[in-house]
Symmetry: C2
Subunit: 103 residues, 2 copies
């Protein structure tokens, strides 16, 4: 039996939790990377970062409703729930992605 | 000698910290209340909430660069640093304030 990952329904995605998920520089970086892609292998989301750390951050993003995690054999594909976020919080993701990443 | 409060310069206001400051329902409520006003007496920011709790939250907002605290005798006037935030993160505050407050 494959792994399954829980994702909140759109109505259960709440602004404070989304903002918290985005308030970490590493998670912000992941969201920036995801913004231009269909889906990213979780191994490519945090190159050089321990897998457990990447898993911790992708879990917080997924549970907040920011990303979707799709297991595929031993891999996980992560994608941004852009449509859902844009419908629920118009302009929020655009405003955040427009800010240049800082070193 | 009066109390003084430190406020970050615009260049020292960083997105992750601003998002963290806004990721708490009480602080989000304070920001919504401040959005329509010039300044609000800190006592009116959290009616029925212990002063120490209000002070904790206004400190986090101030240190993140979201609000300005101006002491006035025994009172404190809190205001939103709207111009600074809008210049640094265009559209962010608008997007957040457009989201209806949830119960």
């Amino acid at each position: 039996m494959g792994r399954t990952y829980a994702h909140p329904e759109p109505d259960d995605i709440h602004l404070p939790r989304v903002l918290f998920a985005l308030s970490d520089p590493m998670r912000l970086g992941m969201v920036r990377l995801l913004a231009g892609r269909e889906a990213v292998n979780s191994l490519d989301l945090g190159p050089g970062i321990p897998k457990s750390t990447v898993a911790h951050h992708t879990r917080i993003l997924r549970e907040a409703g920011v990303t979707r995690t799709r297991p595929d054999g031993r891999a996980c594909w992560i994608s941004l729930r852009r449509d859902v976020l844009d419908a629920r919080f118009p302009g929020l993701l655009d405003a955040i992605l427009a800010v240049e990443a800082e070193a």
